[in-house]
């Protein structure tokens, strides 16, 4: 790792950025501690994906941007990710600056906190700190975690107190623009007992191929009997490395749902780990992956069952076109004493072109006898007889392929409860077929 960019990975720059955001001292110490470990820590071990030559370090983490006063000021390619713009509860971050936020004061009156991370740190330091300290992501886990901890350049804090149920989704948009630009958001979602909330995060970049990096982190804490849905949409450019680690805790009888759309064009590391720490917790993960061009992706969903009567279901569908490659890992681990638990997983990869590659690795690790679990995995190419059948009705080869792909992904997409999100995913997919 000789490519460390001194402009970002430097005590002075980090200190300067932290101070410009009025970060508390303990946090700066955490940053500097992580910074000192970057060099010596190894990259994460990823199944069947060689990441040694990927660029994780050459970028500028601290590009400052001007705030805007309305969503309409955003370039339309970015603002399109935010729906119901007039009424949206939304935080927008460009490069290292939070540039816009909008939050219904009536919701704030219920004790809900929703803001960029730095504002939350200033206004609710102890609360944010307590959850930051209990994060399951350890900064010395590997080099990428340390880089994030040292250089995170924004994020969101969402807190929903006990018994507050919210029906309108909270949205966020993180976008990178410009040479060597990087987004390193730290997103924290905290729900107390019986709370209900939905959160959507979009990680996007200018397609002009200059943006270098997304290294994001999402911590989710699902309280007892709380109900949380988190959707992530990654759509970065071809030269960017897109890293997203998600760590969730689910409390007693809590329910967590993940909807992840991996639609970036460059190099992708996506890790989604959920700990069902108490009895009765549930997590459902729906993942849509579409790779085009030379995209390389390693997508891992990891569920750990600790509590009794915990349930998990992973449903991932991946389409690889052109010369794209996807390693799709699903790991379900049921620990000793997590009896009466159920873990299910389905991972399917469809390859369109001879040069496209896919690999589905279903892994069930079970240390308890009294459980149920199952998995289904498949990797295949488009069925020539299906193509023949569709074309025999007059649709062109391209159209027939598209129908099959949409149909294949639909098993996951049609399950997504938000129509706006479904539409957005379709639009991004459509875009990949036009280029």
């Amino acid at each position: 790792m000789n490519m460390v960019n001194q402009t970002s990975m430097d005590d002075k720059r980090v200190t300067q950025y932290a101070q410009s955001r009025q970060e508390p001292k303990w946090l700066l110490e955490k940053r500097l501690d992580a910074l000192s470990q970057i060099e010596e820590l190894a990259l994460p071990q990823l199944e069947k994906t060689n990441i040694n030559n990927w660029n994780f370090t050459k970028f500028d983490a601290f590009k400052e941007e001007e705030a805007i006063t309305a969503l309409q000021e955003l370039p339309s390619e970015f603002s399109a990710f935010v729906f119901d713009q007039e009424t949206a509860n939304v935080v927008v971050q460009k490069n290292a600056s939070s540039v816009f936020q909008q939050f219904d004061p009536q919701i704030a009156d219920k004790g809900v906190i929703f803001s960029d991370l730095h504002t939350a740190l200033r206004e609710h330091e102890e609360l944010v700190k307590s959850y930051m300290m209990s994060s399951k992501m350890k900064r010395d886990e590997h080099k990428l975690a340390a880089i994030h901890q040292a250089l995170f350049n924004g994020g969101v804090f969402l807190y929903v107190p006990k018994n507050v149920e919210l029906t309108i989704p909270f949205q966020s948009l993180f976008y990178g623009q410009g040479k060597d630009a990087a987004i390193l958001p730290y997103i924290m979602i905290v729900t107390e007992e019986n709370a209900r909330v939905e959160f959507i995060a979009n990680f996007v970049a200018d397609k002009s191929d200059e943006v270098a990096m997304h290294n994001g982190m999402i911590d989710v804490f699902v309280g007892s009997n709380a109900n949380v849905r988190v959707s992530t949409m990654n759509n970065l450019n071809q030269t960017a490395v897109d890293v997203l680690y998600r760590r969730s805790y689910v409390g007693r009888d809590g329910q967590l749902e993940w909807i992840t759309s991996e639609l970036s064009d460059g190099r992708i590391i996506s890790d989604n780990t959920t700990h069902l720490v108490e009895d009765g917790g549930t997590v459902n993960v729906k993942a849509v992956i579409l790779g085009a061009g030379e995209t390389r992706s390693n997508i891992t969903t990891n569920i750990r069952h600790w509590g009794k009567h915990t349930n998990s279901d992973i449903h991932a569908r991946s389409v690889m076109k052109d010369a794209a490659t996807n390693i799709l890992n699903s790991i379900t681990k049921i620990e000793k004493d997590a009896s009466k638990s159920d873990g299910q997983q389905t991972g399917k990869v469809l390859m369109l072109n001879p040069k496209a590659r896919g690999d589905a690795n279903p892994i069930l690790l079970i240390d308890e006898n009294d459980v149920t679990a199952g998995h289904a995995a498949s990797v295949g190419r488009v069925d020539p007889l299906q193509m023949y059948y569709l074309m025999s009705r007059g649709v062109s080869k391209e159209q027939a392929e598209k129908l099959i792909i949409y149909g294949f992904l639909d098993a996951v997409i049609s399950d997504i409860p938000s129509e706006a999100l479904q539409k957005r995913i379709h639009e991004v997919i459509e875009g990949k077929f036009q280029s």
């Binding site: 069925d383 020539p384 007889l385 299906q386 023949y388 059948y389 569709l390 074309m391 025999s392 009705r393 007059g394 649709v395 062109s396 080869k397 159209q399 027939a400 129908l403 099959i404 949409y406 149909g407 294949f408 992904l409 639909d410 098993a411 049609s414």
Partner: protein, 262 residues
């Protein structure tokens, strides 16, 4: 009159995995005509249907097939369909995630120019009408293409597509297999509704039964990969009454299949 469709098949030879199945088929079908091809199993009837549509496994080694004077064999599968050929398949594929109605609308629009797509209202109206005629529950419109359909439902769905796409020449490949008598009548009513000068059909079947409901103008007997005998509707009746042995005897055929021919 000038717009009568015409399918002309001349000395067609077709192989699958380098084994010749069709050995010189000659047949001409015009608008307003219904032809039936009958024959025992293994004589190559379905191969003729698949080869005309352009099934990827079949290779034409010799001969011609012209639709309205245009060379069918030179076209891709989708081009053949857009030129006006339709094949109701014996084993239609299942396509998950694609609804019947979305697919049909794509298929109809594939024949139309951009900007001239069928309006959603008109499409729904047409589809409702045809599904009613075929006694199909309206929920078939939103079900995934053939997925989980019973044999009979798949056959009805093939006829629904036929009626919606309105081809010039249709081939029905054993559309009667696995249908009970009520379903058979419904399917036949669908095909009969298509009859007219601008529509010609080739019905491939084992049994005369279907031909009680769709009256053919011409009947051909298929053996050893080609048509060995042709006649009118009375030929079908005789085959039903007496079987195929008399044909074999008359023509000196011992094994009617293509299997032993090497």
């Amino acid at each position: 009159m000038a717009n009568k469709p015409n399918l002309k098949i001349k000395d067609l030879h077709v192989a699958i995995d380098e084994k010749e199945i069709l050995k010189g088929v000659n047949l001409e079908i015009n608008g307003g005509e219904i032809h039936a091809i009958m024959g025992p199993n293994g004589t190559g009837k379905s191969t003729l249907a698949s080869a005309l549509m352009g099934h990827p496994r079949y290779e034409v080694s010799k001969g011609e097939a012209l639709l309205d004077q245009a060379d069918l064999l030179d076209m891709d599968v989708d081009e053949r369909a857009r030129a006006g050929l339709f094949l109701a398949m014996q084993y239609p594929s299942e396509v998950s995630g694609v609804t019947n109605s979305d697919f049909l609308r794509s298929a109809i629009n594939a024949k139309r120019d951009e900007g001239n797509e069928i309006s959603l209202m008109k499409f729904i109206r047409e589809m409702d009408k045809k599904m009613e005629l075929l006694e199909m529950d309206e929920k078939f419109a939103t079900r995934y293409l053939n997925e989980g359909f019973s044999g009979g439902e798949k056959k009805r769905n093939e006829i629904l597509q036929l009626m919606m796409l309105n081809p010039r020449i249709a081939i029905l490949d054993e559309i009667d297999s696995g249908l009970d008598i009520d379903a058979l009548k419904v399917v036949a009513a669908g095909v009969n509704a298509m009859r007219g000068d601008e529509f010609g059909a080739l019905i491939i079947t084992h049994y005369q039964r279907l031909l009680n409901y769709i009256k053919p103008d011409f009947v051909h007997v298929f053996m050893q990969g080609r048509i060995v005998k042709s006649g009118g509707p009375e030929l079908a009746e005789r085959l039903e009454a007496e079987g195929y042995d008399w044909v074999k005897e008359e023509l000196g055929i011992e094994d009617e299949t293509v299997g032993q021919q090497g």
